[in-house]
């Protein structure tokens, strides 16, 4: 029978896991909202960021701040490259969402193989994680990186909310998302907004890559593993609401961790996907979503 004494730790664990999912979900969700396709390659950008930080801080030996800034720029560059090399030609060809989805899965595989060829298949630990400290609060323990992850998730939520609700760019994004043709008529250039979207997604990937890399170490397939949960979080949180992705991440993290309290832990993935199924069937707009577009 599950013991009640581990409940606080499970809730904290859920928050940590949820914040990680939220980080992965943020850029993914933004890309879906504006461009209407499942940008699984966000996971690739996250992995690229983590490995860039590894190269810069472990191998080149740059100091912390500089390597973090450079890492974020590399993540942005990688995301823009994906857009120009793959997505833009596909959009010009009027490829559908499913083709874009498959091409983004292909980028994901490609990146994992490339990382394996360049860095080898073994796990890497970031030197920066040496500064990590563990705090014991009696009922639960948490580390400084985990605290940073939770705080970042909260900040991202606020940032996304401000971006979508209060800025001109956010308004243009919403207009594009609602109806591309109408948006074009009122003078919004979709490709330009898409570029901005990918830049923001790239910044999110950079931040997520650094934090997730510090927390979970680096290995070539991390890209795939991270983004699957990011995807579930986005849908559950409400794929028509960008800040919803953060809420979705936290929700999934909590339910998974509390679910394992009763179920054998091997079923953790099944728990999150069952929630995904339930949401899609009963409340497809997600927790924060505002109803669906008709043409998707």
């Amino acid at each position: 029978m599950p013991s009640l004494s581990i409940l606080p730790q499970l809730i904290v664990n859920g928050l940590i896991a949820g914040s990680i999912y939220a980080l992965a979900a943020s850029g993914f969700s933004l890309a879906y909202y504006v461009i209407r396709f499942l940008h699984f390659a966000q996971g690739a950008a996250i992995a690229i960021a983590a490995y860039a930080l590894f190269t810069l801080s472990n191998q080149v030996g740059l100091n912390g701040i500089l390597s973090i800034l450079l890492t974020i720029s590399i993540a942005v560059a990688a995301t823009l490259l994906m857009n120009y090399a793959v997505y833009t030609p596909l959009r010009k060809r009027k490829a559908t969402g499913v083709i874009l989805l498959i091409s983004s899965l292909a980028i994901l595989t490609f990146t994992a193989s490339l990382i394996r060829a360049l860095f080898g298949p073994s796990t890497k630990t970031l030197l920066l994680s040496k500064h990590n400290k563990s705090f014991d609060f009696g009922l639960f323990t948490i580390t400084s990186i985990q605290l940073a992850i939770i705080i970042s998730a909260v900040l991202l939520f606020l940032l996304l909310w401000i971006l979508m609700r209060k800025t001109r760019l956010g308004k243009a994004m919403r207009a594009l998302s609602d109806n591309k043709e109408v948006a074009q008529v009122v003078g919004i250039n979709p490709e330009k907004i898409y570029t901005y979207t990918f830049i923001i997604a790239g910044i999110f990937a950079g931040i997520s890559g650094i934090l997730i890399g510090l927390e979970q170490n680096l290995y070539p397939r991390m890209s795939v593993i991270i983004i699957v949960k990011g995807f579930i979080s986005s849908v559950v949180g409400g794929i028509n609401s960008v800040p919803g992705a953060i809420i979705g991440g936290l929700f999934i993290g909590l339910v998974e961790n509390l679910g394992i309290w009763f179920l054998p832990s091997g079923y953790k993935d099944a728990i999150s996907f069952s929630i995904l199924l339930l949401f899609l069937l009963l409340r497809p707009r997600g927790i924060l979503g505002r109803g669906m577009r008709d043409d998707t």
Binding site: L38, V86, P89, L90, R93, K94, A95, T96, G97, V98, I99, L101, I102, S103, L105, A106, I107, T109, F110, A112, S113, L114, R116, A117, V224, V228, F231, I232, V235, P264, G266, Y267, K268, D269, A270, S272, F273, S274, L276, L277, L280, L281, P284, M292, T296
Partner: protein, 283 residues
């Protein structure tokens, strides 16, 4: 010996053909983006493996593999086909992860990650097994050819092109969509059974996403809503992936280089030929 290679390769092409044609019925002809196709393939493979290793005759297991996949497919479709486009795709993608978790954790049934070894051959001789596999594939081709050219096939395509219009014309679109998935998953299960008896071993890797990406690449390369496209796609991409074995690179880079080359080819096809070779429609 070369002939053996050819025979075994052709056998695997037979179940790939069935698998891709079945996927085409759902995705290409009906417009249902079923990303969980491999779940039904896996159910077929596991059904055959579990039953035949418990002494049940293969023909019984073989039919049951298709039926069980189809029953589950019908049930899932009955709940989910009302979902729109990408939402349906997401649900079916979710099924893959649920199936993986179950196959890994329901140890008393599936032996978990250890897999089920010793799945018996249907026909000992590889050559006759290839003939058998292609006979099944031939029946599948014939059936789908008749179906897609029948009145039902036209309704399916009408639903894909404009569901509202089809509904206004008095067609029960819900019924036809479920029917399409029921048939599609039946053949996926049959393909899974052929696979299990071919490899003689089944483990949770049948549900791997990489495997599905290979299968859906075949479908897209060949073209949606085209039966001959699917067959060409299966043969074309299988040749590419087999040919990759002959790329000479440093042995320590073989894995990474092959993956990269394969993905680049896939992206090039997607960019320059998004409708595939014989494709009639976009997804």
């Amino acid at each position: 010996m070369i002939l053996d290679y050819f025979v075994i390769l052709m056998t695997s092409l037979a179940f790939y053909t069935i698998l891709v044609l079945a996927l085409n019925l759902a995705v290409g002809f009906t417009g249902l983006i079923n990303l969980g196709h491999m779940v039904f393939f896996g159910i077929g493979a596991y059904t055959s493996a579990i039953l035949t290793t418990h002494g049940i005759p293969w023909y019984f297991a073989f039919i049951l593999a298709g039926l069980l996949a189809s029953v589950l497919g019908t049930l899932i479709a009955a709940i989910t086909v009302r979902l729109k486009g990408e939402y349906f795709a997401m649900v079916t993608l979710g099924l893959v992860f649920i199936a993986t978790a179950i196959s890994r954790n329901w140890i008393s049934l599936t032996r978990g990650a250890l897999g089920i070894p010793g799945v018996p051959d249907i026909i000992r001789d590889n050559f006759y097994y290839m003939i058998f596999s292609w006979a099944v594939a031939g029946l599948c081709i014939l059936f789908l050819y008749k179906l897609t050219n029948s009145e039902t096939g036209k309704v399916l395509q009408a639903i894909r092109d404009d569901e509202t219009a089809a509904a206004i014309l008095g067609k029960n679109t819900y019924f036809y969509k479920v029917l399409s998935i029921a048939i599609s998953t039946f053949f996926a299960g049959i393909a899974g059974s052929l696979f299990a008896h071919h490899i003689n071993f089944v483990d949770p890797s049948v549900f791997d996403l990489e495997f599905f990406i290979f299968v859906i690449s075949m479908l897209i390369a060949g073209g949606l809503a085209s039966l001959k496209g699917s067959i060409v796609g299966v043969f074309g991409l299988s040749i590419v992936s087999e040919a990759m074995r002959y790329i000479v690179v440093s042995p320590s880079l073989i894995g990474a280089v092959r993956d990269i080359v394969y993905v680049v080819i896939l992206i090039i096809i997607l960019i320059y030929k998004p409708k595939g070779i014989f494709g009639k429609v976009d997804v």
